[in-house]
Each structure stands twice: as structure tokens, then as C-alpha cells.
Symmetry: D3
Subunit: 314 residues, 6 copies
């Protein structure tokens, strides 16, 4: 059987049959939260840290998931297990928990939440070229949401603000990652990732005010400190990124990628820079595999698999 | 048959079977837009104005609905027609079009949008008491979203920011409507509605900068001007509402309701105030029925229907 | 004699006869500053730190008190001495120095300041229940004053901005304490107090930018560090308080109280939380008495004293 | 008898004996509001408009004055009557109503307000030279208070923010009037007055967002329109004042004064400018006397009265 | 003689020999102002309006040009006259006055200003294609300068902020025009031009708060009103431009150009839209020539002139 | 020969003949950057640190200087060498590198930059009195430029915003230094310098967000730490400066000067304060001369040189 299996509100169902009611608050209002982990060699990585953040999202939005995070963790492991036979060579998975508020009209008594766990193959082919070239960051005019309402620390399913920012930069360069500034013009975050830069041998990253507090970001800071590197959280501006010695971004899926350009200008003197390479090595040790190598192998295999078909057409 | 019928991506289905894929961008990202009309005596009111606004929402979010607004209008009328036999005595309907972006991972080629039209009975019993008492507005600490990202003029399905604001005021008073200030502390809007106030015989309403440009708001301004009343759009602050001679809110469902209190303090000298009553009369003429009367009749009927059961228990 | 004695511009007078001219700048313009200490077992606590802050308030407002802080300290002790015989069982005092600018019309030559020292019994009965239940914090829409004018670090007698914020939250819940956000939506302070929260075993408190730099806050940070706990000052948002492991507030009178709810939602997993209890114990050691116990005893005594009267009426 | 008489909480008392309790909320917290009118030829001018604004201040601050505005108006007239025999040649009076919240500790049940009406001679000698030279406006770094807390439209006794701004400009030039910008850098108001400027033959004045809505401002706009001049309210910046054809300020006491300089730079081509003169003439007609002439006469008389004494000393 | 002639501080000099001292405040500090007019058929257009704005720039920056604007106007006409023989077929000129502050170290006594008038051919070939395709507007993350310092209404030679914004959008699309938002996320202006949009048959343009008040903008508004079209100045956001029926930009050189795209998305339903065409016709009447036609003819001639050379090389 | 020699785009020229084209982007747009060092005893101080900052300015503005910083350093030393024979007794030099973008109309292909190195005598006579009296800081209403456009960290030749701020404070007091607040009302920097203040024995200075990161500021922090003093970077407000124990400013030319007054009010208890004196001693050690002594000697010599001439006139 080649279809992925999801867990939806208590049942395991084939991916293609996983549905939510049209009138759910999740669909009509974006009234939900989620979190996502990846696997290394098919094993979930930092699940507890992600569930702890998910629990904060639930408390902040006052959604009652109807189960403990420990239980949701067990369900996640079980769902992963049901999909492991579909893991491709060199591939790995994303596992995502999504919880949206119950459908009751009355906000304070909205009833049972809608909970799901899904498993998806990581899109390695897309990321592979960036390990050597670096990513292109484009900062659109749109800003992060203001902290007094929809705090960027919340991992919500109401993400249209980010989609709009993404459209502005991607219509400019479809391969760009979108860099968000906060309401005061400070560097905030990359959509679905965090930003780090290096100046005078020290690593700096925007503080926790207007960003998602990435689990990969925290792990990266720990790894850097463990390797004897100085890391500080502070307010940074576009000037700091334009003039950085090197820069990189971090996220759950690709872990760490070097930055190559910012709004069309080259960033840093070498891509990847020496500290970016150092951090990547630490990540490889922790993950127990060569992350970039895995992506390249996967991408090569995917291309090879596609070749014959193309050749046949030729 | 007593179940409502929805139109979902080309098919008419019973409400209880209307579903969207769990992995749709609408559910995972709140990446969609919608609009809602009401009926008077079972006939759709101002459908064209609502579809024109929906078209703007689509252009702003760059979602291609795969059909013209004229076609969506015809579908809406047809869907309404299939539900008219379920219209309760004194009741009326909401009709809602929702369009979420196609599920493709690539934002710029996201494929066919997911389109639905649903019909729901208006919750008259909830609004009925407010026609005489006025609503209680509570302004939470959270503000409207900033215009540089997620413009409040967009009618999006990413509404968690508003849900969070609503939670803050409703945990304080479950019957309150939530009043939002904009980032600069000006009065902006009521969640799902617009605000008007009266000072020295003139009607004022917050300008279009940080609000949803309500169809009912526009109609109310036209009716007021038609009745010889001065109406202006301007920047207003909480001071203006605390010291207003009278105030009212407008929205698609209840049309116009007087404001009774603001953060626990009485607003105005009389509830409803004389201009609020005047505007309500103009609305009744336009709607072809007595809007408050309809709500009270409906509420009375609903209560009467509930009574025997209760009595039986007694 | 059972009336309290105040020191007013050089003279000791009975409280009921302590007056200021109607045309004083203090009454007409709120053009004054003050500071307040409490006693433990009838002895003034941290008087010097409070006078040092008062001196800063005077320098910032360019009011000349016409005496040194040392002299004002001696007067304060003397005024306290004249009232000690009125100290109730389990009770303690507040001592407040208030200085308003002289009445001259010319701001730069406003003449002799108006100086007073007053003594008031601490309102223990009001605070007693909060030690076990925690306080309910409500954040109104109003923000702290902007730092570019009326810096929140100044302890001024122009407090109507705070009164207005207090009205908004207290009309919602008369027992709430009012939590203020700063102009950027960060957590700032509780009216008449400071906020602390705990995350991952570490204590965090808003930095000094937009808050009164509480003497009790500084003492609490010293006590925590002395007890081996990590404390940091940083920018925090409502998200951080909604998702905190525990939280507490500090002020001169009650020292430290746990937070129970925020805008109607429970805060933390236990009230008081383990670090709040730990800090309270350190405070008890420093104060030389059990602060919560004192409040409860006082409240119990006050209730007992009231009972017979009530009983007599019954 | 040469002492002024005040009305204080129900009694007429000599000015020197008018007192408020040291512990009143008015003195300790600046928790009060006020309004001020002037007389022309000993008759109160625009009393009703000032009382209407005072009533708004009371509603916004939720202070119950314990009497109607009509009653307070009668008391004001009566208090003025008791002082008319003290009116100096060419002189006129200010009459001020001040109301501070009752002294109860509980904000929501603060008890009887403290109400006073006082009468003071207008300080004509100070203003006289400005009618020909123009005033010097100095804009300090401090800004108006933010509208989301302490709205500048409120006429409160918590005025330390304004005092601090005044100190900054007056320590620079003791004769300057202080010009406040709002939080966004727009021109707001002059402390105790409003600003008007002329560009291309049209009068412009900052809109009502972040200013006290002056009764004299409203009257000036009416007079200008009555004289066929265009007047608009809009957002203006320092650029507009530096480059204005002419400018003037308005307030209750001096009515209208030309602006001569801004931060040391000359403003306009002629002082007073032609439209300023035109507006002044309209004011004279309305007031029934030549306002500038009155001030000069008064100042001359005051100087003459002082001369002999000085001569005697010589 | 084929070289352009400039007027520099009193002398006519060949363009290639026009120099300023390296230590001038204009070069070291950008401490200067300028204005630019175009010719139609070799005649200066709206010179007086441009000189009036230049005079405002001088007053705001407190630079004394050492001559009247009338005199500078005569010099400008004379300089133009000396260059008219160089006017190409279908071509027209830009004339620019630049005035930088004298070189004295003491800011308040900086001595004689440095004044120049230069003449340059209009770059018609660059603009020609935009009349039919419309321009592509790209909004970078950088914003206009804040009004409280460097007001955008000032036409200053300190333009690096604009150059930086331009770099961000042009590195993305070298043919884009840069659209600036103000500090609050409102639409402000296009670098070197102003923005207009059409909604429901009415023309809207950002108000004067954070923009250069274009002479061409003012003329366009007059022409539109003269043609019976409604024009209003108001706060507009990116939403309004994304959803506009049509849009155009105005500036001194090209007068009016339609907008084709915004951040990669098409704007309006037709390019140019019907009102843009209408306004262009009015401009043609006022200018006494067909502006687009002139550009196309010039561009065609320029291309034809270039052809033989290219052919010869082939 | 008594004229200074400059290096301009490859050639050594007498100062009076150093020119830039009138149409250079440097003159017309302020499109350039610069940096400045001083000498001690005729030797360049911290040249490398200044060139490193200049390189950041070039990268941020995307100007290609056409040479390495090492080469520019050699040219700077050589230019200094050609001027050393003009060094006056007790005097020292400023050396300034300025680079403006090439004159091409196309921003992305602007061609060869315009590079210059100039040498100027330090204006010691102006600074000498401040070592004992302290400087007077005046904060105008204008703010620093916003970080989202023209980041204050950039050392640009577009400085009109600063000139305008300087005009406001200097028209008030011609001897004042101008203190800039940032957009949020925090203390930012002194024009051409940085601010430090002392509180409770610890040195504080505004963090790097909205300031030029002074080389002298960095050196001062190193010297202070080397001397065992605590130094922290943080957000500070005017309150902190009004109430500081002492304060000083730092810049390349005068190194460190005490603050005497802020907006007319005295700052600190002693001028210079004890830590300011301590830091000055460390600077003297590093510079290898007594900096204040040098200034006084130079000023005395300059005055003596001027005396005979004056006397002769007498």
C-alpha cells in the first residue's frame, strides 16, 4: 500500500480521505495551532520540545485539545510507525500535529477540538542546491504581525499575513525565502525559519520579541555554545545583515542553510562561511548523518528516477 | 428533509457531509477569503456589493476562484433556493461564500481553489435583547492587525487575531461585543461590525484605514444622508465614544444595534438614541420589514417552542 | 488620642486638618512627586532606597524641595514615631512623602515647594485572600504613558492616566489588578507594582524601559539571585504571561503576591507556584516576619472585631 | 475688601482660605478635571460651551460632580458677581471650575467629588507685547500624551507631562510658548492653546485627534468662515509651520496672538499677517471691545502704577 | 558648439567644467535643496510653482540663497536660452536649480550659498514603453523618512535613503519604479513621482502628510476636477492599490504614466485605464502637444539614429 | 608652502583646487559615505577600525570604491605625510575619506566611484572650554532617522536630517551639542558623538540600534572595562540622563567630554564626574598625551597669536 496514513480525531485514515468539516472553526477562521517535527533516519527528533511549544500555543489560544501532550506524542509516534514502510531511500519525514477549536458558535464553550497528526516526506530536492549556493532572502514591504494581537511566537493556522508577504517576495524571485522585518524595522525572522548572522567571529540572532522561537534555533544556539562560539540575541537591522561576515537560516526541515544574497546583493565573503560550516558539522553529529549529503543523495536519486522517463521522451 | 444543503466545489451536498481536505491551504494556513450576505423575507440583500468586495479580497490575496463573481452569484441564489423550505417563521438566512487557495505546495502555482456556498439561519434570539438594552462594547488590550501586512480591509479566513481579542473581552463579559482599537489607539471596528457615534447631531464613523469596509456601513451612511443627516468619516478615539451623545454598531445580520455601555460605563443619554432610532426606521423601510420586530417575534416564537418542553418537565 | 498625625510643610498636624491650598500647583496641575515606604513591625523598611528614587523624581521634574533627602528621612522617622501608638495588632504602616512645586505662576521661579509626610495603616484585609488564590490581572486597552514625555519611571502625582486604565479593568472585575502594556504591546507593569514570570525555572521581568523601577522589584531580584535563582530583565509580551509556568507581582505593601488569572484565563499550573513560594520565604526572612501570616492574622482580627457588632444586630 | 472670593464645595470663602485635604485624590493623584472661561467687560463668555466640554471630561473620567452643569453655571455666575467689584481698570477675569474625584480608596465608590469655582485676574501685562512681536514657539523633544491612555482632548488636572515639556522649552527661552508634536511628529497644539497657519490664503489647523478641542479654536473657525475665509482641519508637520505664510495661536485668555518665530526662525513674512489681523478684528467685534487695545491699556496702566514706586526708589 | 551650458554661482560654464568644492557642505553633508522643471516645445512649464516650492525648501532648511526667486527664475530662463540650439528633434529639457549651504563651519553663519542652474535632455527613450505597458511598481521594505526629522515634503539633496530603497527594488527588477510606504504602512509616493488610483469612478491620491507635494500632482488634480472627475486626498494602503480599478503615477518629466503591475501582480483591468487616458488627454491639451506621441517619436528617432551604426558594425 | 594637500581620485592637489563635478551623485543626491580619523602627535589613530566601518558603509550602500581598504589606508597615510609639515604647535589632524557613487544615471551601473582623502586641523579652540565646564546638550523635537530606511549606523554624506536637528538646538543655544532621541523616545546619540552616563557606579550607553557605532565609543568601553569599570549597553530615556550621577560624550576628535547641562538643567553632581575623569586618564595613556592639556595649550597659543593683532588695533 503506497498511500500515507494520517491520524484524524481518533482514527487512522488514508491521507486522501482525511477531511475536516467545511464549517469547522479551523477552516472558517483559521482558529487553530500546529507544530511540526522532522525525523532523522526515520526517528522523530526533539518531539518533546515541539510538544512543549504546542502546549504553549494551546494555552495562549485557550483551545482545549482534550488530551495530554504525552498522549499526543504517543499518537504521533504511532502514526509515524504506520508510515515508515513508505520512507524513500535517503528520505525522511515531517510529522505535523494540528489542533483547531471545536465548532460551537459560542467561543467560550466551543466543544471538542479537532486534532490530527499527519506525516509527509521532506522536500529535499528543493533545498539541496541551497547548501552550496546559499539562499536568496528578499524582504517585502509587509511586516510581521504586531505582538499586541497575534504574537509571532504563536504557531497558528491563521497564516495569511505570512502568505501575503511570501507572495510579494516570491513574485519577485520564485526561489527566494522571505525575510520579515518587525513593526519597527528590525530583522525578525524568515518565514518558517530563523536568522543568524556573524560579525567579528560572534554569532548574533534576533531576540525573542517578534519571532517564532524555533526549536532548531534553540538547538543551534546550544550547539554553537557547546563548540565554544559566542552567541547573542539582540535587536538587529537590515544594515547588520548587509554588512555581515556571513549569515545562515535555521529550520526544522533543512536544519541550517547559508544565506547567499539579500535583496539581490551578495551577503558575506564566502558561501557557506566558516562558522556556518562549523555549525553544520555540529548538526551532523547530533543528527547522526550528513544532512547536506542526505539532501544531495536524495535529490540525485530523485533526478535519476526522473531521467529515464525524460530520456524515453527524448 | 430537514437538513441544510451546501454547494461545495461544484456539488450540492447535505450540510453534515460538507468537508474540506485536512491538507487544504484553507485549513492549514487560513489561506482563504469569504463574504456573507443576509436575506430579508428570504431574498438575498445587496449580493452584488458583497461579491464586489469578495472580488477585491481575491485580487489582494491573488487567489484565482476559477469562476466569475456573476457565476458565484448565480450559485449563491441557487443554493439559497434549495434551502428556502427550511426558513423558519420570522426567520431569515445568512449565505456565505468561502474560497481558499488550491493545495499545491508552490504558492505561485497553487492550482484550483476550493469554493463553497453555505446557508445558515440568522441567530436572532441572541441579538433580540440588544435592540432595547444596547450592546456592551469591551475594548481588549489587543489591537487590529497592522495595515502593512494583513490589512483589516481584507475579509480573510485567517481570523485568529480577532478570536484572541474576542476571548479577552468575552472572558470578561460573555455577552460583550469586542471593540478593536487600531495600532495608534484610534477606534477601529467592532468584530464583525462597524461603529458609529453621534456628536452634536452629526454622525461620525471611523474612516476606512483600519477597518473592514462594511456593506451595511456603506448602506447606513447612504440612508443617513438620504434622511438629511450629516455623516463624516474621521479618526476617533475612546474619548469620543465615552462622551458621545449616542452610538450604534452596524453589521450584515442585525443591521443596526444601539450601544449601551463601553467597558462598563453607560454610553449616551438614552438607549437607543434618537438618531439610532431614525436610522433603524430607514433600515426597516429599505428591508421591507421591521427588523427589531422580526428578531423579537422570532425570539418569542423560539422561546415559546422551548416552553412546553420545560413546562412538561415542571 | 486616636487620630493619625501628619507632617505638613514644617508642622505636625492631625490628619483631618492637613490641607493644601486650592490653587497649589499640586492640586491644579498634578505638579508633584511622591514616594512610599512600608514598615515591618513598625520599623521603616528600605527608606534610603525610596528617598534616592524620590530625589531622582525631583531632579527630573526640577522641583526644589528646600531640604536634603537626609532631612526628609529624619522627618519621616519622626512622623512615624508620633503615630506608632496607633499601630494595630498585626498591622503595619505606609509612610508617604509628597512634594509639589511652589505656587508661583512662573514655572522657572515657582518658589517654595509644598512638602508633606503622612502615615497610613496598610490595607491588609484587602490583600489577604490573594496570597492563596492569586490576583486576577486584567489588561485594558489603555497603555502606559510614552517615555518621551511622562516617563513611567517617574513617581508623579499626575496619575489620571493610570486611574483611567484602572477604571477600565475594575469596571470589568472590581477585584482585578490592572496590567499595563507599553506603547509597543510589551508587558510593562501592574499599577502600583511590578510583574515577574517564570519560564523553564528562570525568573523574567520586564526591563526598566517603561516601568516604575520598584524598590521591592530590586529587592526581589536580589533575594532571588541570593537564593541561586536566575533572574533576567527582558522584553516580554502577553504570550509570555499566558504561557508562563507561574507568575507573581511585587510592590511595597504586600511584597509579593502570586498571579492567579490573566483576563479570565488561569496562569501557571499551581497557585502560588514553587518559585513564588521560594521568593516569599526569602522575603519573610528579610522582613523578620511571615508576611502572608501577618495579613491573614490582621484580616482575621479585623473580621472578628466586626463580627460582634454584626452579631449584636442579628 | 480686596481679597478674591472662591466657591469651595458649597461655601464662599476668601481665596487665601480655600483649601483641599492633603489626602484628596485631586492632590495625590491629579484625579480631576477643570475648565476655564474668561470675561469680556466683566461678563462670562461662552460659558455653556465650556461647561459642555467639562461635562465630557467628567463622563470620560467617570467622576460624578454631584450637580448638573446648569447648577455649576449658576454658581459660576454668582462667584463672578461676588468678585466684580475687584475688577481693575481695563482688566478682565478668568473663571475656573475644578472637580476632583472623592477621596474613597475604592475607585468605583469614591464618594462625593470636590468642586470649586475660582476667579482670577487675566495676566494681560504678560501677553501685551506679543500682539505686535508675535510669540516664539519652541518645540521640545517631549510629545503629547498618547491618545490610547490620557487623551489630549481631556482637560485634566494631571498635567505634569505638559509641565515637563514646558520646562524644556522655557529653560531655553523663558518667554517661549511650548509647541507640542504628537507621537507621530505632527503638529498638535500649543500648551493651553491651539495653532493655526495660513498657506495660499487658506487657514489650516491640526485636526481633533491629539489636541484639546479649544472653545476659542471653534469660535475662531466660525468667525473665519463667517468672514468668507477657507478653514480646514488636517494633519500638519513642522515643515508646514516653518514655510507658512503666517501663523497664529488661539486660547481663552488672549483669544488670538500672531506667531513670530519657531525654534528661533522667523515665521511668515509679516507679523501679524493679514489673515491674523482679519481674524483679530472679527474677534474684537464678537467680544465687543478691542482685545489687543485692552491688553495694552492694562499693561500701560500697570506699568504707570508701578512707575512712581520705582521713581521714588530712584 | 555641442556642449550644454550651466550657470554656476554667477557664471555660465560648459557642463564639463561645472564643479563644486570638495569641501562644500553640499558634497560633504548633502546640505542642499533643489527643484526641477521641464519644457514643452522648449518653453519652461510651471516655473513659478516650482520656484515657490524651492523657496519653501530654503525656508525649512534655513539656507539663504543670496537672491530672490524672481532673480533665480530669470537666470533659469537665460540658461535655458543658451541651450535651446541643442534641443533635439521631438526632445525637451529638464532645468534644475540646486542650492547648497555655504561652507562655513559654523552652521548659523555658513556664508554664501552655492547656486547652480543646469539643463539636461529629458530621457524620453526610457519612459516611452511605459505609456502602453504601464510601469511596474515594487515596494521595498524600506520606508519614507519620518516626518519628525527629514520631512518628505522637502526636496533635499540628501537622498541616500531613497537611493537605498531604489536599490532594493531595482536589484529585483531593473525597470521597476520604487513605491514607498510611510512609517505606518500607508502608500506614500513613487520615488520622483506621486501615485493616483481609481475606485468606483473616483480618483484618490495619498494626502500631503508624507510625500513630496508634486507640482505635477497638483496640476493633475486641477485637470481632473476641471474635467468633472472627483479627486480626493486620503490615507491609502497597499490593499487599495492591489484592488484598484486602475492607477497611474505623475511626475514632472513624463507627466502621467499608467501603472501595470504592483510587486509582480497586475493592477487594474485595462492598461491604461479609461480615467488615466482621460487625464492624459487633458495633459496633452495643457502642454500643447501629445506627450506620449512625443516620447514615442523621440524614442523611434533615437533608435533609427542608432540603427545605421549598429548595421555598419554588423 | 602653506596650503593643505588633498588626494582626489588619484591625484594630489592643493586644497583650494579640490573639486567634484556639479552633476556628481555625491553633490546632487548625497549618495556617498565617509569616515574620519584623528592623529595623536601627528600619527593616525585606529585607522584600521575606521576603514573597517567605511567598508561596511560601502557594502550597505552597494558603492564600489574601485580599490581595497588596505590601498585606501596607504593613500591616507601618504596624504597625511604630505601635510605633516603644516602641523601647528600642540595641534593635530583629522583625516577624512569620502567616497561617492559614480555619475551614471543607471543606479545599478553607476561606474567609477569618486574617492578623496583630505586632511584638516582639529578645531581644538572650540572644544577646550568644555573639558572643565561640560557641554550643554539640547534635544530638539526632531528624531534620528528610522532604521528601516536610512540606518543611523551608516556614515553617509546625506546628513541634512542631522543638520535640521542641529539648527533647532543651535538656534536655541549656539554652543549646544545636539542630542537625538530615536523614534521611540529613547536616548540615541549626540550629533557626531555617542553618549555615556553613570548610575550607581556603573557606566551605561545606548545600545547599537539607532546610533552610529563610534570607534571612540568602542575604545572607551574597552578602556573602562580594562580599568575594572562595569559598562552596559541598554535602552535609556531622557529620565536616565536628567537623573544620572554624571555623563559624558565621546567622539573621534575630542575623545571624551563631560556633560554639564541637559536642556538647561544641570546634569550630575560634579563636572567632570569621577568616572569621567577616570576614563579621560585612560584615554590620555592610550593616546600618549594629555588630551585636555593639548587642547588648552593649543587654545592658549591660538589666543596669544591673536592677541598682538588685537592689541595693535587697540
Amino acid at each position: 500500500m503506497s498511500e500515507l496514513t494520517y491520524w484524524v480525531n481518533g482514527d487512522f485514515v488514508p491521507a486522501s480521505q482525511a477531511m475536516v468539516p467545511l464549517t469547522s472553526r479551523g477552516y472558517r477562521l483559521g482558529d487553530g495551532v500546529f507544530d511540526t517535527e522532522r525525523t532523522f533516519n526515520g526517528k522523530l527528533f526533539k518531539l518533546d520540545a515541539h510538544l512543549a511549544r504546542l502546549e504553549k500555543s494551546l494555552r495562549f489560544t485557550r483551545i482545549d485539545p482534550g488530551m495530554s501532550m504525552a498522549e499526543l506524542g504517543r499518537i504521533s509516534e504511532e502514526t509515524l510507525g504506520k508510515n515508515l514502510h513508505l520512507l524513500e531511500e535517503h528520505g525522511d519525514f515531517w510529522v505535523t500535529q494540528t489542533i483547531s477549536r471545536g465548532a460551537g458558535r459560542n467561543l467560550l464553550e466551543s466543544g471538542t477540538a479537532f486534532v490530527s497528526v499527519i506525516v509527509e516526506p521532506l522536500p529535499f530536492a528543493r533545498f539541496a542546491p541551497f547548501y552550496s549556493q546559499g539562499v536568496h532572502l528578499v524582504a517585502p514591504a509587509a511586516r510581521t504581525s504586531a505582538v499586541s494581537g497575534m504574537d509571532p511566537k504563536l504557531k497558528a493556522t491563521s497564516r495569511l499575513g505570512m502568505v501575503l508577504a511570501d507572495l510579494e517576495s516570491k513574485q519577485t524571485d520564485p526561489d527566494a525565502l522571505t525575510l520579515l522585518l518587525d513593526e519597527q524595522g528590525n530583522l525578525a525572522e524568515v518565514i518558517y525559519g530563523n536568522l543568524f548572522l556573524v560579525r567579528d567571529g560572534k554569532i548574533r540572532t534576533p531576540g525573542g520579541r517578534a519571532i517564532l522561537e524555533g526549536v532548531t534555533r534553540a538547538t543551534t544556539m546550544e550547539l554553537a555554545r557547546g563548540a565554544g562560539l559566542a552567541v547573542s540575541e539582540c535587536e538587529l537591522q537590515p544594515y547588520d545583515l548587509y554588512t555581515a561576515d556571513e549569515a545562515f537560516v535555521s529550520t526544522t526541515s533543512y536544519c541550517v542553510l547559508p544565506v547567499g544574497r539579500l535583496n539581490g546583493s551578495p551577503v558575506g565573503k564566502e558561501v557557506p562561511g566558516p562558522l556556518t560550516r562549523r555549525i553544520s558539522e555540529e548538526w551532523n553529529k547530533l543528527a547522526g548523518l550528513d544532512i547536506a549529503e542526505q539532501m544531495h543523495s536524495y535529490a540525485a536519486r530523485a533526478q535519476a528516477a526522473a531521467q529515464p522517463a525524460t530520456a524515453a521522451r527524448g
